[in-house]
């Protein structure tokens, strides 16, 4: 069997639609969109066309789309903008959640150092933020709420429309990191009352190094990059047109095929969940139903995630884990800890994120191999020995 790539939440392979658009762009749209001559204007048209495509599928206006280097930059700029607006109004409180991506959490940490106060809402065992807790956390001086659309590690989808409606009513800016949702869910920035939204092309078969910040018309953006007048003066630097055109083509493709792909990918996901649930002392992380189609996250007691990943890789399966050893720190993933999982359980996590090119046969292969590798690692684990002998109680 060929190598099975099951890490789509990390990145997707650049699809043929994006590749063709990029090559076409490099061959035929080489001008600088800021130039007045014909090649430049041709490139400017291509840029606008890409902007229109991104806007269309987000239900936004083209002039509300700002091209960035990716999701992280968009998150940074959205939160900095909200903070600057708050500063002018004397509002210094920002609400977010405990399991945001680090692009949001670390931006907030920096703002805290500059005098802002941050409240991180709990996400509970099911990995979903509660509206009543958001309402209770709001203060007179709350300037912004930032809640991710779908979580990157466990895939749970947040009540974005409800949060958006509440924030709009209260006059609070609402930002959502939609990196895991874009191309997978039907995002409507108008209906959902979203003020800022971040997305990244390489999660929906587009190229990496390019993304979008949607910023609702009338909100004055603060620049991260000063310079030329690109992106209506809000993001300087000659536009990466091939990447932008590739992203737009991939986004259109993903959105047009969304329902069909989601139904198929969800059936594979359910096959995975069903199969992996057979492993004793394992646990599906996050709500069973309120999740993106492709993401599955399990914890297996008595083993550590990195060794599980390495052994799966040797068997031709590419997955991911939130164990300390893969997070680059001594603590396991903040997302799994936010769900209330004990450290020793969170260390044994496995994320499988699948796409439309995966097959039912591959899911069967994954289930069988995870089963075998977990059993093997448990056979040499002193932690598992203690659990099995009853020296320590099973936690899951």
């Amino acid at each position: 069997m060929n190598y099975i790539y099951a890490d789509h939440a990390a990145t997707t392979a650049t699809g043929s639609v994006a590749r063709e658009a990029m090559i076409d762009c490099m061959e035929n749209y080489y001008g600088n969109p800021s130039s007045l001559h014909t090649p430049g204007q041709k490139a400017a048209e291509k840029l606008w066309e890409s902007r229109e495509i991104m806007a269309k599928y987000l239900h936004a206006k083209p002039e509300e789309i700002y091209f960035t280097s990716g999701g992280s930059e968009a998150d940074n700029q959205a939160l900095l903008t909200a903070a600057m607006i708050g500063k002018k109004k004397g509002k210094r409180h920002i609400i977010s959640t405990a399991f945001e991506h680090h692009a949001v959490l670390h931006s907030l940490r920096r703002l805290e150092k500059e005098g802002f106060e941050v409240t991180l809402l709990p996400v509970h065992e099911n990995g979903i933020v509660r509206l009543d807790e958001l309402k209770a956390a709001v203060r007179e001086d709350t300037i912004c709420v930032s809640v991710m659309y779908a979580n990157n590690e466990i895939g749970t989808v947040q009540p974005i429309a409800e949060i958006g409606a509440f924030c709009r009513e209260k006059g609070i800016l609402f930002h959502t990191d939609a990196v895991q949702a874009a191309g997978r869910l039907d995002i409507d920035v108008v209906k959902e009352n979203i003020d800022f939204l971040a997305l990244s092309a390489h999660k929906f078969y587009g190229p990496r190094g390019v993304g979008v910040l949607y910023c609702r018309k009338g909100i004055p953006l603060t620049n991260l990059i000063e310079g030329g007048a690109q992106e209506r003066g809000k993001r300087a630097g000659t536009e990466n047109l091939p990447a932008i055109a590739g992203m737009a083509a991939a986004f259109r493709e993903a959105c047009e095929n969304r329902d069909k792909d989601n139904a198929y990918v969800a059936s594979l996901r359910d096959q995975l969940i069903e199969g992996l649930s057979e492993i004793p002392h394992g646990k599906l992380n996050g709500d069973r139903n309120q999740r993106v189609a492709g993401t599955v996250n399990f914890c297996f007691e008595g083993i550590e995630g990195e060794s599980l990943l390495l052994l799966l890789d040797m068997r031709g399966i590419g997955a991911s884990s939130g164990s300390a050893c893969t997070s680059g720190s001594l603590d396991p993933s903040h997302v799994l800890l936010a769900l209330g999982l004990p450290h020793e359980v969170a260390h044994g996590s496995l994320r499988l994120s699948i796409g439309a090119e995966n097959t039912p046969e591959e899911m069967e292969y994954i289930v069988n191999n995870v089963n075998e590798v977990v059993a093997y690692l448990r056979s040499m684990s002193p932690v598992w020995e203690d659990l099995e002998k009853g020296n320590k109680p099973h936690l899951i």
């Binding site: 008595g302 260390h347 040499m380 002193p382």
Partner: protein, 132 residues
């Protein structure tokens, strides 16, 4: 690649995995909360030679590889020689470890020491100062 070929070899084909039911010394170090636990079993003969050694480890690739390498390095050695093997020697024998994995080698060294300490305790012998 994150790990050297030697690390990957010891991770994929760990030496001396298992338990010794009638061990003369058993040492367990680490903490499941931190993601690594090593348990080492030793058999020691009348000349204080480690005649057999086995390990069980809960941990990442480098935790398993360092456990495996450490058991290879102490097998057949005297207790004195085994105690002289530092975590640095284990790292070198594995052709290096990433900086954030050095603690795994420290754990391997501690596991050897803990097993030896347990051996002395079981024998009712005084525990050498450099162990306590």
């Amino acid at each position: 690649m994150l790990y050297s070929e030697k690390v990957m070899d010891h991770f994929q084909h760990p030496r001396n995995v298992g338990k010794i039911e009638d061990a003369d010394g058993v040492g367990e170090v680490g903490n499941a909360k931190c993601g690594d636990i090593m348990k080492m079993y030793i058999k020691v003969d009348e000349n204080e030679i480690i005649t057999d050694v086995k390990f069980n480890t809960f941990g990442c690739g480098s935790a398993i590889a360092t456990s495996s390498m450490a058991t290879e390095m102490i097998k057949g050695k005297s207790i004195k020689e085994a105690l002289a093997i530092s975590n640095k020697a284990v790292v070198e024998a594995l052709d290096g470890l990433p900086t954030n994995k050095i603690h795994c080698s420290v754990l391997a060294e501690e596991a050897v020491k803990a097993a030896v300490e347990d051996y002395y305790k079981r024998k009712g012998l005084p525990i050498p100062e450099d162990l306590s």
